[in-house]
């Protein structure tokens, strides 16, 4: 059983001459909840689709459960649960028929868990998929993906269209899945609070490049936002490496820096600041700083 469940090697993808993924490399270890973040069009869905073999890469290779994505065996497919953005279910089918089809095409089917989920989400079996609301489709898709007891669960913006209660239920479910031995989740989301709650490793895609790939704790500890008050006007010549963002207003300067260390602290001290306060950063703050167009954030190897 490989320890790396998902591996991406120098992945490049072009759509009509436009580069969507630009040399992305990452590895998701077994048992990890990997949160993939990025703005719209940053390449998250494309990467997930390539991982599942739904889209061929332009260059590079991806491996899922030790197998090349473009040559995934039926057995490997059967060990991966997938909830797609937009929930691509067969719209003309009744829920019952769709469930029957998925059950028939699965390696294993956890009837008890599926029944529990259907009951929890109150999904009607006798209605057509197209008659369900977006939230109900999301719940159905998630239930189908969970019922196969997947070794790897890939979720592409899974909480999109869910209300707060359903989102909470979903997150609890995801945590439940991870608690089972050896289960791995790779998910992308726009709701950073969700990612922060459940992910233990974060990847941030900016314009097709993976600018962050580390654990949530590392990310939070390495990126610091400081409010520095100077005796006079805040200096314009404060040259510290890896400044992600800086804002000056009179005597005050708010500085976001990656890989904060004693050397950088010493440089700051030479400007004799009156005070230097650490400002707490949520994942959302970090994400916004990372995805600024002219972000000075260092590459993945540095963070």
């Amino acid at each position: 059983m490989p320890d790396t469940v998902v591996e991406v090697r120098n992945l490049v993808k072009y759509f009509d001459g436009r580069c969507v993924l630009d040399g992305v490399s990452l590895a998701v270890p077994r048992g990890c909840i990997y949160g993939l973040l990025g703005r719209n069009g940053s390449g998250k869905t494309t990467m997930i689709r390539i991982l599942l073999g739904l889209e061929p890469p332009t260059r590079g290779q991806t491996f899922v459960l030790g197998e090349d994505s473009m040559r995934l065996s039926a057995k490997a497919h059967g060990r991966v649960g997938y909830v797609a953005e937009g929930h691509h279910l067969i719209q003309s089918y009744k829920v019952r028929r769709l469930v029957g089809l998925c059950k028939g095409l699965s390696l294993q089917w956890n009837e008890e868990l599926f029944g529990h989920l259907m009951e929890m989400f109150r999904l009607p079996m006798d209605r057509k998929v197209r008659e369900l609301s977006a939230g109900m489709r999301a719940q159905l898709n998630l239930s189908l993906a969970m019922a196969i007891d997947p070794e790897l669960l890939i979720l592409d913006d899974p909480t999109l269209g869910l209300d707060t209660v359903a989102r909470r239920q979903f997150l609890e479910l995801a945590i439940d899945v991870i608690q089972r031995q050896g289960r791995t989740i790779l998910f992308s989301s726009h709701i950073l609070g969700d990612v922060e709650r459940i992910a233990d490793r974060i990847g941030v895609l900016v314009a097709g490049k993976l600018v962050v790939d580390c654990t949530l704790e590392q990310l939070k500890s390495r990126i610091r936002r400081l409010r520095v008050i100077f005796p006079r006007q805040a200096p314009e010549d404060l040259y510290i490496t890896e400044i992600v963002n800086q804002q000056r207003q009179g005597r005050e300067m708010v500085l976001t820096v990656a890989n904060w260390n004693p050397q950088k602290q010493a440089i700051l001290e030479t400007f004799c600041p009156e005070s230097c306060t650490d400002l707490p950063m949520t994942l959302e703050d970090i994400f916004i700083e990372c995805t600024r167009p002219a972000s000075a954030l260092p590459q993945e190897s540095e963070v």
């Binding site: 057995k75 691509h88 279910l89 998925c102 028939g104 095409l105 196969i148």
Partner: protein, 206 residues
């Protein structure tokens, strides 16, 4: 595999039944015209109905592929424990089964009617084999045209392309006659169509 075949049949039941219905009508017309003694009319009407059957088989192939692409069915199926090759294999198998279910009764009926007409015995085996093979292969080739053309989002191309290719193929078989040459051409055509369809389907974005 059985689930995939079941899904294909269930989703395209109208086309499968339509092909079987055309087959039944063909048998009925053949019997009626033979009984009434108008042999020429039997040939003409059977030929026309066979053409309708070929169009029906082409429509089945096109509906399978077009419906899949439009409703992103394979996008869902290929995330389950199946491969793209298996999805396509199940699809083609349903086409073959429909073809056999439509043609075998017609061929049996034709055999019985021919034996009643009492043509020279030595003439039968080769003629029957060649005509049967040519008709079956033409039907399958038409189905393959449907598969090939169906993987599109353009309805105009789907309809025009299918009709043009079916007409071209049928004309070719009629011009050559149902001999060994026609069979060889049809086999090559089917192989090329299937390989291309398989390549297109297994390397496409879902």
């Amino acid at each position: 595999m059985l689930s995939l075949i079941g899904r294909e049949v269930y989703d395209h039941l109208v086309y499968v039944l339509a092909c079987c219905l055309v087959s039944a009508i063909t048998i009925g017309v053949m019997i009626l015209t033979s009984v009434s003694g108008i042999v020429q009319a039997a040939y003409v009407s059977s030929t026309i109905l066979m053409l309708v059957l070929f169009v029906g088989l082409c429509a089945l192939g096109a509906a399978q592929m077009y419906g899949d692409r439009a409703n992103r069915i394979s996008a869902l199926l290929s995330t389950l424990a199946v491969t793209r090759s298996r999805i396509l294999a199940a699809r083609v198998l349903v086409g073959v089964l429909t073809l056999l279910a439509s043609l075998i009764p017609v061929l049996i009926a034709a055999l019985i009617l021919l034996s009643l007409a009492a043509l020279p015995a030595a003439f039968y085996p080769r003629m029957i084999w060649e005509v049967s093979a040519a008709v079956a292969l033409t039907g399958f080739a038409c189905y393959c045209i449907g598969l090939e053309i169906g993987w599109t989002t353009s309805k105009t191309w789907l309809i025009l392309g299918s009709f043009l290719l079916v007409a071209l193929l049928a004309s070719l078989v009629f011009a050559k006659g149902p001999g060994l040459e026609a069979i060889a051409i049809l086999l090559l055509f089917i192989a090329a169509m299937l390989v291309h369809t398989w390549h297109k389907f297994t390397s496409a974005s879902f």
